[in-house]
Subunit: 389 residues, 2 copies
Amino acid sequence: MSVTAPEGFVAVGGSAGIKAGGMPDVAVVATADGRAVPAAGVFTSNLAAAAPVQVSRANLKDTGGQVAGVILTSGNANAATGKPGLEAAWGLCDAVAITIGARPKEILIGQTGLIGIPFPIDVVLPQVSGITSDRAAGPEAGAAAAWAIMTTDTVPKEVVIRGNGFTVGAMAKGAAMLAPNMATMLALCTTDAAVDPATLHRALLEAVTDSFNAMTVDGCTSTNDTVLVLASGLGATPSSGALTAALSEACASLAQQMVDDAEGATKVSHIRVVGAENDGAAHVAARKVADSLLVQCSLNGEDPYWGRVVSELGSAGVSFDMSSVSVAYGGVVVCAGGVAASHDAIAVAAHMAGRHVEIVCDLGVGTGEAAVLGTDLGYGYIDENRTTS
Amino acid sequence: MSVTAPEGFVAVGGSAGIKAGGMPDVAVVATADGRAVPAAGVFTSNLAAAAPVQVSRANLKDTGGQVAGVILTSGNANAATGKPGLEAAWGLCDAVAITIGARPKEILIGQTGLIGIPFPIDVVLPQVSGITSDRAAGPEAGAAAAWAIMTTDTVPKEVVIRGNGFTVGAMAKGAAMLAPNMATMLALCTTDAAVDPATLHRALLEAVTDSFNAMTVDGCTSTNDTVLVLASGLGATPSSGALTAALSEACASLAQQMVDDAEGATKVSHIRVVGAENDGAAHVAARKVADSLLVQCSLNGEDPYWGRVVSELGSAGVSFDMSSVSVAYGGVVVCAGGVAASHDAIAVAAHMAGRHVEIVCDLGVGTGEAAVLGTDLGYGYIDENRTTS
């Protein structure tokens, strides 16, 4: 399902030797007829942007947002790889373009995996034409593509949203390094909506803001974050609001799936800040709480230590008045007016024992609000990240 | 030793029932004759500042920096405790003042421990006069005070610096929440230097910048961070440079001791950024690397995954050019010109196996430089912080 659900797209997942043991590591998604269609992308803000980010940005710019296909690879980020890395990314785009009958500039690329390891282009390149040739329509092809982009993910992430006369399909990979301005994540959306590149770009930006940019695992912003969308134009022409809504829903689902499958996490936190000076301040405060190691450790231990939450709110750099702060866990107010509130400790304990923990912080200084998805911090994250081997 | 090393100070440590089991939890340091002397303080930037921070700030302001004694307590932060918390802090200052024959405003207070728990003033207050009465000169008294301010510290932190005709003594507690703008830490410096409050304040600010504000464990800024200094005036009048140098050396030693004893840490990281646009940018970048969970996990696993270091540098928000970055572990360059450099992997592994790991990042864009002390992230931190019980 997912990226092949909208009309006009084919996909494939295959093994090209980036990962050991013949694991799937290359996905190609393209228009069924090799035609370039409106496309848009949102990329990492990291100034150490990887080669594929540089290439995709340039190709979108040079074509005015007209794209025929996307190649996504996993197992090696092709980041901090210098000129050879750029040449590798160009080579992959070329191979796909030749196979599907498009121009190289009409191919985008996303890559994920370890940073700073030379990309094994000599091993991979000979496989790309063959893999691309196997592209097909239908749900199995979309699923195979979603499997091929996984790294430390334990399950593929896919979603399909049906609009009025159009469909959005999307897939993503993510795990750790999920943070401000996206995460170590790749996401590819397809739609059959008939839309121009500029409208598509605006809709994607808005969708990303409320989804991938509103989740965090470890506060790290990756070198490779990439969210792409291609629009075949074979369906209806939605209003920009309808398109944005469908893309937002797709991205929000993928973000939720990513946090649910975050490296080593045992809890998903839903941190909501209300009563902030404005929405921006609420977002900053919510992210500060969600990113806090001490709060994350408390979630791991199922300890409703709201003092740490208040401490993070107070150091978030937003308007703050201790005497007007309240904090609730799962709807149970544990702090009011900046001090401990008598409460039903058993209800709080029951809520914290679940996988999803909701913390609502009311700053009491305005009407701004925002929500951020986060995780706990436990042994699992450390196990996953202490060595790369 | 420590705070009683300079001429003119007495100290005591005792148990007042804040901690369970009769553990020491109150320290009082005062001038030997109860006279108010020049003093200065630097406090947390957290807007959820605890009651003792509010009281000490006010007392320093109201007296123009003339202080006769300090009471420090551990086991309860007296933070997020509202008006009763303020009244408790005032009560503690009053009790010390009466006992040593000073005015209440001439007493400062620092407290550390859990946030959001009402301070048990009814239990503690009756003990304070008795404890204060036992104050004494000499090294044992200073050591007892240093013991009484520990929370999750495993060893007391003390230092004595001898200047030309004057001495600086200092003690501190710290553990987790060691981060920007100080840490969950209390530090008290004494000196017999003859100096006015304004000069003392400037010297303290400078000493804090290069010590407590250049270390990090978890990026959390506490509600209670407090660094104080009292100057008895019984020694020589140092130049402001000499005073700053001695205070800086004392604070740097305490910062090093704190990071060495950080909750659950197995490594101390020395992150140095050079070649930045300016010193401020270098500090931001160094802190970004030191605070990175992924870098900290790599340190725990002794994995020289420099790609994560470069990724943090690229997302630090400072001037950055991927092609000019280099990274060295223990003096061995592993990344040059933004790509992997062939290097002696055995030498790097040997360096990372030690307790102290040095990472030098050259941004190659200017002459700014800065260093930050950090730690690794392992099971120990989680064990220490997942529950408060």
